[in-house]
Assembly symmetry: C2
Homo-oligomer: 511 residues x 2
């Protein structure tokens, strides 16, 4: 059993993040530059995210589809801002085979007539197809979503938060009117915000990106911004109102109610595996990962404290009784291999969430640590002392509290309430952290002071401007995260130009 230590946050935050991921077995770097391997424990979190978000997307009327991962170079060029935004970080496919060259070494063969890129995002290919599907207003709206991998060549990568290849969902919709498209854009932003708060226990601030920070090809980009433990912000999801930019680039026209040809209005929106990075940074501690119950692949780890010399019949009997109390009637037991002594039971067929029992013959401390660093919300420990008292120790990972409970008091209702309570505790803690780390700046000097001394989100009057934002970023490394929706009605002075403005923005250092 590996008992690699986790570097404390105060000592080295970046190393702590890397250690938490490694200790929990979530992901690792691969030999393909910038691409990660998502290990089973990490992928199970992605599956939990997908399962819930997919339902939200479907219930609001969208359907999933799949478009080619290769995009002809000429498609990318059809929307001017878009190609500018993505051309510099594309994986380019130029050949269709490998053949034996000189020295009998493999080399690319079968050059393509036109190079293709691996999708960095799919607006171009999707909107090309939409142009063939849309003839009349009767064909609208089109509400579509795609779960897939995308590729953006990144030089400075960090597991989950920034990788060359990542997994995501990208929604793409087409509408008859500007108003409909705008309300779709905001509806999906709300969906993301609700999802983050309810499932990931991550509170977010909704707002509009400045012109400088918007998506390449969008009219408006909206974002949800989270604040992580080290005081840096993270863009957790974006929703783009694309106006008629792509419908003009790809000729999506429809015959309107008035029998006139009109360009349609489109949107796109996405969240990615970087949410897992946000989740890790938001909740974990120096002992390792802490998972909110709503997306934890395992709800409970039951850890028998086995004494090698003693007979373990009694402990097994008690744990059997405990399982009978907690498991649904038709709980499915996952097949285990001969050597594997971790029993796994599915307690929820919708979510695949499990209860595990760790029968391995390791030292009790090692087994405890194993489940602690994996962030399982509840651990239940039962040793000889507990057997005698028909009790167990229940430990909550989120606040490291523990309590002795009678086995007979554990019921499915108790479990449901515990998980709900943990989820709430985690969201409350994260909300309080965010609230106490939003500071107001009345001048550029104050902004700089706060960024340097306190971090967090800095709210101030500021008139968005590409050039000025660039300068501020050079001087402070901070950018406007977004223009939050909850603007005050007052008027103030822009911290940079000192001109009157009613616009308040949030500045922060960010991932």
């Amino acid at each position: 059993m590996s008992n690699q230590k986790i570097t404390p946050r105060k000592q080295n935050y970046a190393q702590w993040y890397q250690d938490v991921i490694q200790s929990a077995g979530l992901a690792e770097h691969s030999p393909v530059r910038g691409c990660m391997v998502i290990r089973p424990e990490g992928y199970a979190i992605w599956e939990a995210i997908q399962r819930d978000l997919d339902l939200r997307i479907k219930r609001s009327g969208h359907m999933n589809a799949y478009f080619p991962m290769l995009i002809p170079q000429s498609f990318l060029a059809k929307e001017a801002q878009h190609v500018e935004g993505f051309a510099m970080e594309c994986a380019v496919v130029t050949h269709s085979k490998l053949e034996n060259g000189h020295d009998n070494q493999l080399e690319p063969g079968g050059p393509l007539e036109e190079p293709m890129v691996i999708r960095p995002t799919s607006e171009t290919i999707v909107n090309h197809m939409f142009s063939q599907w849309v003839q009349s207003y009767r064909d609208l709206p089109i509400l579509m979503n795609q779960w897939c991998n995308v590729m953006r060549w990144e030089m400075r990568t960090r597991l989950f938060l920034r990788t060359a290849e990542f997994l995501w969902q990208e929604g793409h919709t087409v509408h008859e009117t500007r108003k409909e498209a705008e309300s779709e854009t905001l509806r999906m932003l709300d969906t993301y915000a609700d999802f983050c708060e309810q499932m990931l226990a991550i509170p977010v601030i909704k707002g509009r990106k400045t012109n400088k920070e918007k998506f390449a090809g969008a009219v408006h980009t909206y974002s949800i911004e989270a604040l992580l433990q080290d005081g840096k912000a993270l863009q957790a999801g974006t929703s783009h109102f694309l106006g008629q930019n792509f419908s003009k680039g790809f000729d999506i026209q429809y015959l309107g109610r008035d029998q006139k040809l009109e360009y349609a209005w489109t949107t796109s929106w996405g969240v990615s595996t970087r949410l897992i990075g946000a989740l890790i940074m938001m909740h974990s501690d120096d002992k390792g990962l802490v998972l909110p119950p709503a997306v934890a692949p395992q709800a409970i780890a039951i850890v028998p404290i086995l004494n090698k010399k003693q007979d373990d019949t009694d402990i097994r009997t008690l744990i059997d009784q405990l399982l009978k109390r907690l498991l649904p009637e038709k709980a499915i037991k996952i097949a285990s291999t001969d050597r594997d002594s971790i029993e796994k039971y599915i307690i929820n067929e919708n979510t695949n969430q499990q209860i595990v029992v760790d029968w391995r013959k390791y030292r009790p401390g090692d087994k405890r640590y194993h489940w602690e660093k994996r962030g399982v919300p509840l651990r239940i420990e039962i040793g000889p002392r507990e057997v005698a008292a028909r009790s167990c120790m229940v430990k909550r990972r989120c606040d490291n509290t523990q309590a002795s409970m009678q086995i007979d008091d554990l019921t499915p209702d108790w479990l449901r309430d515990q998980l709900a309570s943990i989820q709430k505790t985690m969201l409350d803690k994260a909300s309080q952290f965010m609230q106490s780390n939003i500071r107001h700046a009345n001048s550029y000097d104050e902004l700089k002071h706060i960024l340097k001394e306190h971090g967090g989100l800095v709210r101030c009057f500021f008139e968005p401007n590409d050039e000025i934002e660039k300068k501020i970023q050079e001087e402070t490394k901070a950018a406007v995260r977004n223009i939050p929706f909850d603007q005050n009605t007052s008027i103030g002075r822009c911290i940079y130009t000192n001109m009157e403005t009613s616009t308040e923005v949030l500045f922060a250092l960010a991932y």
Copy 2:
């Protein structure tokens, strides 16, 4: 409403297949050569396949993970047969950006030090990672699966059945002993066979591939073979015993119980979106798609027969009552847009299966045809006559039968039984078709006669041999599909060499 005609099978089978797909809106060709767009109705079938198969894979102890889609060229070269099998059909990534070249035209820039291919399959990258994860026999077995896209450059493509990019799952496992790896290989073949029969209503024949037909890099490849309506076979899934070929190529060694270093034993297995092609060809008819209930995104389409001039209050009341009878208590209604008058209700939260009500103001015949060609297992039609009698017409898509039913006789149990009965009818029909299209050949002439005049599967004594199989394929276009597991114990004479052999094989033309 598009009422494009479906070409009858007898007239042009290939065109019929294409028409069925187009009429049901399942998929279409994309501007990217060889790559398809899977439209929502088609993707929903893939989701149904994934959902069920994923549970089977997980319950047998495997976990999902994700590996990079790009594979360094040098990795591919590490297993000699493997690179030979895949090098000629790889998409090769050679550059990391697009930049402005002469004439201000985009061209590939940032050449990579080493070309990479988009995974045609992931044995190489996965086994490279395994070599880092495995040290001791205690680390084994590793039971892993990946859902992803893969790319094999194909020149002659057909929607679902053969496309350059396709979606699939690929299982990869590592074991301590040869025996364990072999039994894993067969266990997953059984899983695929059960899945095809129970979910897709496609009976299959399990067997071993000949040396000529096996996977590039495998010791043994096993397959399940289906027989489609036109008498051609289709390989619906494969499971490979890779022996120590990849563990030697990628240095997966473990310290055994005897403290000696050993090479591990590996397997891989996969099914792909081609299953959707099999499904379509297996069950559809000249009216279009026919879906087995187990994977039908919609279980029932309720079609009100609306009379434009008449008040429709009564029909709406009756359909409300019908829905109350059929829907579970907390049925989720999918949000519909202003102009969309198809109501959708989720009747099963696990599978997302729906009941839809088509309130569109189209002609009744058009609405009937709309759901018929989409293969929805049950249609319930209610017009003024039915309202008067509190009845409805229930139409089964699988055999085009219909019956008048009293609304009050429709219950969730009735629905469950109907769907089970339809599923069984479809599997029985497919099984009978297969049974009556397996013919025995006692000579090469008989083989040729059967292939030419009858098609189907031809069973005969044959001693597998690369050269001879190649010759037979040149002469007849047929190949050995597999050496079925249910061998007779008798001995016969090889139809080609006339030598004694106990091996019986199945020949067929195939997709």
